[in-house]
């Protein structure tokens, strides 16, 4: 195609010259100039005729002349014979306008007649003078009409130079052959004026300085000038808003534009597209791209709606989520009438009482009576209220606060109600008073009839639980650190730790046979010689004061614990390795070390309630040792606490409670993990002791913050079920100073004894 278009361009130039020749020829035929108008009309007719013949020739030219063939290739309609006629006719219609254009050139060409050079050219082209090209020629002219470049070449060839350069010369320039163009004689003004007076058409004449000639404008030209002055299209019949004619037929043609075979790429699937599809599919699958479901077209016909539905509910709500329905106003009542019944109108006293009320409480509207609508005054508060309304609008927040509506109750873990977990200790009815110093330790008799207590005043007391009576008092020199009742009911012996000494005291509460057994046991004569391994650690002595046994240790005792069988007692001293914990056997009056090394300083020990294990707590960890085997700990429990203060074991033996000095308490389920099952942080101060009830699912902790907490701690036989821990009660009552130093459960009742630094022991009952 590019080749063709090039050729077409060359052709165009040729056509231009042709058109010149055509116009030139027509003007040659019709002279003189004065009868131009008529001549032009004639010419038009000719042209129309020519164009009529043009269609006839077209068929020939297709086959014959190369020129016309090229043209046709440029113009669409020439390809289709069927439409040819119609389009040609339209062209014919347009002929007039193109004619006008040509006429413009004519003006300039007219005067060329005299020139020889131009004639030559004309003569060159005249041989080809043929109507066959006229139609297409004119089309070209229409197309080319905008360009001033391709207009008829001027006679003068000096170019676009200022004419004043030639003012003093006799010539005004040179023609195409290089000869000087001499200036014409100018009519003087008078002559020209006279001429203008004679000739009515003189006003149409203009002097062309460049070519040094006079040009007379035709009527059409003057019209055109006028139109141009008005800013319109130069040709009257040019419709700038003509309908667009879509020349291209979009219906499929029978024959393709190109006979080239379809390229291969049209038949193989596009890799790029496949990639794109995979990407989309993946996006849809992963939910990144939401595929809009095809909307179901609403059924035709009017949509029914609820006639009496309140306006606020349906539409606005759905449209806008943040829609806040306005508050509903009360419907006006009788009192708001302009002429209410008399009973609505307040009396003077009532009005006076309104004055006494706060402004907010005052009724907004005081019913008043008017005889007619005319007499109702303007609303008094109108200005004020509109001002307030504006203020409201101005000051109201524009952003709706987003509130999360979560019921705080729902965030709590679901625990059974405290009521369902009864009985548990909750109120204090009995106090055991008599000590003069802080009560450091208490211990309950296995039957629950008595408790023993030790105090910093050096006294050990035994109390009757049910009445609060102090039955026995032993006075020692040192502050009592620990008291522990022998777990055997048949052996009412009390172990008392103070300073470096451990005492075994006969409480004399057993029956006669038991008393004899104890007396025999405590008899001074039969203390065997200590073994060499423990000689440095402990010394067994007879206590003269109260007839008991005294065991002197090499360090201060920090904790003691009876074995469940009531024969062995472990004492803990702040010493490392194997010397920190020793076991005393009461029946044989023997002391032995633990058959293993303990890492770190032991804090307290605890015997397993049913198996031969011992729990040894160091400052941070609890280790479980098998007493029957020497060697390493069977288990190490990591508390994650800074300093362990106390331990208590669940009677089942699988759950251990550890209290720490930072107020934390850990529940270890030893079947579950070596890490705490639950860590409870309740006390703001050090936990001094923890206790577990022997039969009820209760455990407790007491602290220096002078409170004791009671928890429900249920252990299930089902191994899949974790222990249930529910905090039950905070027991207060001890004075703030010093706190609660010890707590013990009653062995049979759900009661808790607490020993306070305020020298009182309290019993909390259910």
């Amino acid at each position: 195609m590019t080749k063709k278009s090039k050729g077409g361009k060359e052709d165009k130039k040729a056509i231009e010259t042709k058109s010149k020749s055509v116009s030139g020829k027509s003007q040659k035929q019709k002279k003189p100039v004065e009868k131009e108008v008529e001549k032009e009309v004639k010419e038009e007719e000719e042209l129309i005729q020519e164009s009529g013949t043009d269609s006839d020739y077209d068929g020939d030219s297709l086959s014959g002349s190369l020129n016309s063939d090229d043209f046709n290739s440029d113009i669409f309609e020439s390809e289709d014979d069927v439409t040819q006629g119609g389009t040609e006719e339209e062209d014919g219609g347009d002929g007039e306008s193109s004619q006008d254009e040509l006429l413009v050139h004519e003006g300039s060409i007219d005067n060329e007649d005299g020139d020889d050079g131009s004639e030559q050219i004309d003569s060159d082209n005249n041989e080809e003078e043929d109507g066959s090209d006229e139609g297409s020629d004119r089309d070209e002219a229409v197309e080319e009409s905008d360009s001033s470049e391709d207009e008829v070449a001027p006679r003068n060839t000096v170019g676009d130079v200022p004419l004043k350069w030639y003012e003093d010369e006799k010539h005004i320039g040179y023609d195409i052959t290089g000869k000087k163009i001499t200036k014409k004689e100018r009519q003087d003004k008078l002559d020209s004026f006279l001429a203008s007076m004679d000739d009515s058409k003189n006003w149409r004449k203009i002097i062309d300085d460049y070519n040094d000639e006079e040009v007379e404008l035709t009527k059409e030209e003057s019209k055109m000038v006028r139109r141009l002055l008005k800013g319109k299209a130069p040709h009257a019949d040019f419709d700038p808003y003509a309908d667009y004619v879509d020349w291209f037929k979009w219906t499929d043609a029978i024959h393709p534009l190109s006979s080239a075979p379809e390229p291969k790429r049209r038949f193989i699937p596009s890799i790029w597209e496949a990639k794109k599809v995979v990407k989309l599919v993946r996006g849809i699958r992963m939910g990144l791209i939401k595929v809009a479901k095809p909307e179901e077209e609403p059924e035709e016909g009017p949509v029914p709606y609820l006639l009496w539905e309140p306006a606020s509910t349906s539409d606005q709500k759905n449209k806008n989520l943040t829609y806040i329905p306005p508050p509903k106003l009360k419907l006006p009542g009788h009192e708001e009438s302009y002429n209410p019944s008399l009973e609505y109108i307040p009396t003077e006293e009532e009005k006076a009482s309104y004055e006494l009320m706060f402004e907010e409480d005052r009724p907004k509207l005081i019913p008043t009576r008017f005889t007619s609508l005319r007499s109702i005054p303007a609303y008094g508060n109108a200005l004020k209220e509109s001002f307030e309304r504006c203020l409201d609008l101005y000051l109201c927040p524009r952003i709706r606060k987003k509130r999360i509506n979560i019921d705080p109750e729902s965030l709590k873990p679901k625990l059974p109600s405290r009521k369902d977990l009864r009985p548990y200790p909750n109120s204090c009815y009995l106090e055991y008073k008599g000590h003069t110093g802080a009560v450091t330790s208490i211990s309950t008799d296995s039957s629950g009839q008595w408790i023993a207590s030790g105090s910093t005043d050096g006294s050990v007391r035994i109390w009757e639980v049910e009445t609060g009576r102090c039955l026995k008092v032993w006075q020692f020199d040192e502050a009592i650190k620990f008291v522990a009742w022998n777990p055997l009911s048949s052996l009412p012996v009390l172990a008392i730790a103070m300073g470096r000494d451990l005492f075994f005291l006969n409480t004399e509460l057993g029956n006669d046979e038991e008393q004899e057994v104890i007396k025999e046991m405590f008899h001074s004569g039969n203390i065997p010689e200590p073994e060499a391994s423990v000689a440095a650690i402990v010394t067994w002595l007879q206590d003269e004061l109260y007839g008991g046994i005294k065991i002197r240790h090499f360090k201060n005792i920090s904790s003691i614990d009876w074995h469940r069988k009531g024969d062995y007692l472990s004492t803990v001293m702040a010493s490392g390795e194997t010397r920190g914990v020793v076991l005393h056997q009461l029946s044989k009056k023997k002391t032995q070390r633990l058959p293993f090394k303990i890492r770190g300083l032991p804090v307290c020990t605890l015997f397993h309630p049913s198996l031969s294990y011992i729990f040894v707590a160091t400052r941070k960890d609890v280790r479980v040792y098998n007493l029957l085997k020497t060697g390493l700990a069977t288990k190490k429990l990591e508390t994650g606490m800074r300093e362990i203060s106390s331990m208590a074991i669940h009677p089942g033996g699988d759950n251990l409670i550890v209290g720490s000095k930072e107020g934390k308490m850990c529940w270890f389920d030893m079947d579950l993990s070596s890490k705490p099952y639950k860590t409870l942080k309740n006390h703001p101060k050090d936990i001094t002791n923890v206790a577990v009830h022997r039969s009820y699912p209760l455990f407790a902790s007491c602290s220096e913050d002078s409170t004791a907490y009671v928890f429900h701690g249920k252990v299930y036989n089902d191994l899949n079920q974790n222990p249930l821990i529910v905090p039950l009660e905070i027991l207060r009552g001890h004075s703030i100073k010093g706190g609660v130093l010890d707590c013990k459960f009653h062995p049979r009742q759900p009661w808790l004894f607490t020993a306070g630094a305020d020298s009182i022991i309290k019993l909390y009952c259910h």
Partner: protein
């Protein structure tokens, strides 16, 4: 009902009736009284009516009943609360107010008074933590001292006071024994006579908490910390070979020819914890209360418990009385006195609960003749008199300044009590018809 004016409250027509004897009787006339009077107002009205007939009348507090309910608020409120119509003439029954009118001199002991018994009108029996039982013929005069126990006495019971000559009493002690004493109650002496036990009952393995005697006086039962109830024979005869002379063992300076030792006839086993209280109201029925939160009724013949009431609290005391001697009252480790009616089928919920105390209840006793009255003693130092017809205590005796450990009725119109302030106190002049 007539309205006199706005300032005067409504008036009610009432008729005062009474079952009391002549000096207390008022003419059976209808009287118009204002409706806002309380018990005090009613009492003064009745007193003034009596005084109008009998000028030497001394003012006496009365209590008033309408349809068997004691009035404890203003008459108007009472009628409203009970839904009684004020249109007709009201019949108000009045009784003498149940309140001690006199406080006897305290009888000082050497230690806490742990047990008192007033079942005999002739004397008061007390047990003390110093291990001695004491017999008081009146306030401040101790006639006999019962000695022998090595531990604190926890409970005392009068076994047989029918025959005028000698009286048999039983004491239970924390030294795991019971002792039976005989003495002559009418013996008037200036200084108290020391009495030793004629029989020692051994067999309990732990402290004996309570003792109670059969009506006939042939047997006593005792309860103990060893979770059992033992039944003992009281007779001195050794016919069944149960009693063994113990001269050898008690080889003291005392002449103990008559002292013998007894063993338990039967042991009632069933309680799982300390049996804190027993009563033996009928020939073959024993009631017991225990720290295992139950009240049981035992059939002596079979040795089985025929009733088991679960209470939920550890119990310290039980007594049977009231209507038909069938109501069980028990108190324990909480401030609520509960009354059960075992005749009520299908339920073990208490029919009455009295909760004005503020600490453990240590004793409760039904009045021996009245169906409605009972007393309770508590560790808060108060003794309260209750009437089943009202939920408020009739009167509160606050003579003790420490725990009250035991209390009983004496001679029908006295309340005797012993406590941790080592005193036996007698509040007399309680009018129970």
């Amino acid at each position: 009902m007539d309205v006199d004016g706005e300032d005067v409250s409504r008036r009610l027509h009432v008729k005062f009736v009474t079952k009391l004897d002549s000096p207390f009787k008022v003419p059976v006339n209808s009287v118009a009284i204002p409706s806002n009077v309380t018990r005090l107002g009613l009492s003064s009205i009745v007193n003034s009516i009596i005084q109008s007939d009998n000028p030497e009348w001394k003012t006496e507090p009365f209590d008033f009943l309408i349809d068997g309910e004691l009035i404890r608020m203003s008459l108007e409120e009472f009628l409203l609360a009970k839904g009684i119509s004020a249109e007709r003439t009201l019949e108000i029954e009045y009784i003498r107010a149940v309140a001690p009118r006199k406080e006897e001199e305290p009888s000082l002991h050497d230690d806490w008074v742990s047990a008192v018994n007033g079942s005999s009108p002739r004397f008061i029996l007390t047990g003390c933590y110093d291990g001695l039982g004491r017999v008081w013929s009146s306030a401040g005069s101790c006639s006999h001292i019962l000695e022998g126990h090595s531990g604190a006495i926890s409970s005392v019971a009068v076994v047989n006071s029918k025959d005028a000559e000698t009286v048999t009493v039983a004491t239970a002690s924390k030294d795991r024994t019971l002792r039976l004493f005989k003495f002559d109650a009418d013996e008037s002496v200036d200084s108290s006579t020391r009495v030793t036990a004629y029989k020692i009952l051994r067999g309990h393995k732990a402290s004996v908490q309570s003792v109670s005697a059969q009506k006939s006086g042939d047997m006593v039962c005792s309860s103990s910390w060893d979770c059992t109830i033992n039944l003992w024979n009281t007779n001195q005869s050794t016919s069944e070979g149960e009693s063994v002379p113990v001269k050898k063992r008690k080889g003291n300076n005392q002449a103990d020819e008559s002292q013998s030792e007894g063993e338990a006839v039967t042991t009632l086993v069933g309680h799982t914890q300390c049996v804190s209280s027993v009563v033996w109201p009928e020939h073959d029925v024993i009631y017991s209360a225990s720290w295992d939160h139950s009240v049981r009724r035992w059939d002596v013949e079979t040795g089985k418990d025929s009733l088991n009431l679960f209470c939920g609290k550890a119990l310290n005391t039980v007594d049977v009385g009231g209507e038909g001697s069938a109501l069980i009252a028990a108190g324990g480790s909480d401030p609520i006195l509960r009354v059960w009616d075992p005749r009520k089928p299908g339920t073990s919920a208490p029919v009455f609960q009295f909760s004005s105390h503020s600490s453990w209840i240590s004793a409760c006793k039904w009045h021996r003749s009245s169906w409605y009255h009972l007393l309770s003693a508590s560790y808060d130092g108060k003794i309260m008199l209750w009437d089943l017809r009202t939920a408020w205590p009739l009167s509160i005796i606050e003579t003790h300044n420490d725990k009250v450990l035991s209390a009983d009725w004496w001679k029908g119109e006295n309340v005797i009590s012993g406590g941790a302030d080592s005193n036996l106190r007698i509040s007399s002049g309680i009018a129970i018809s």
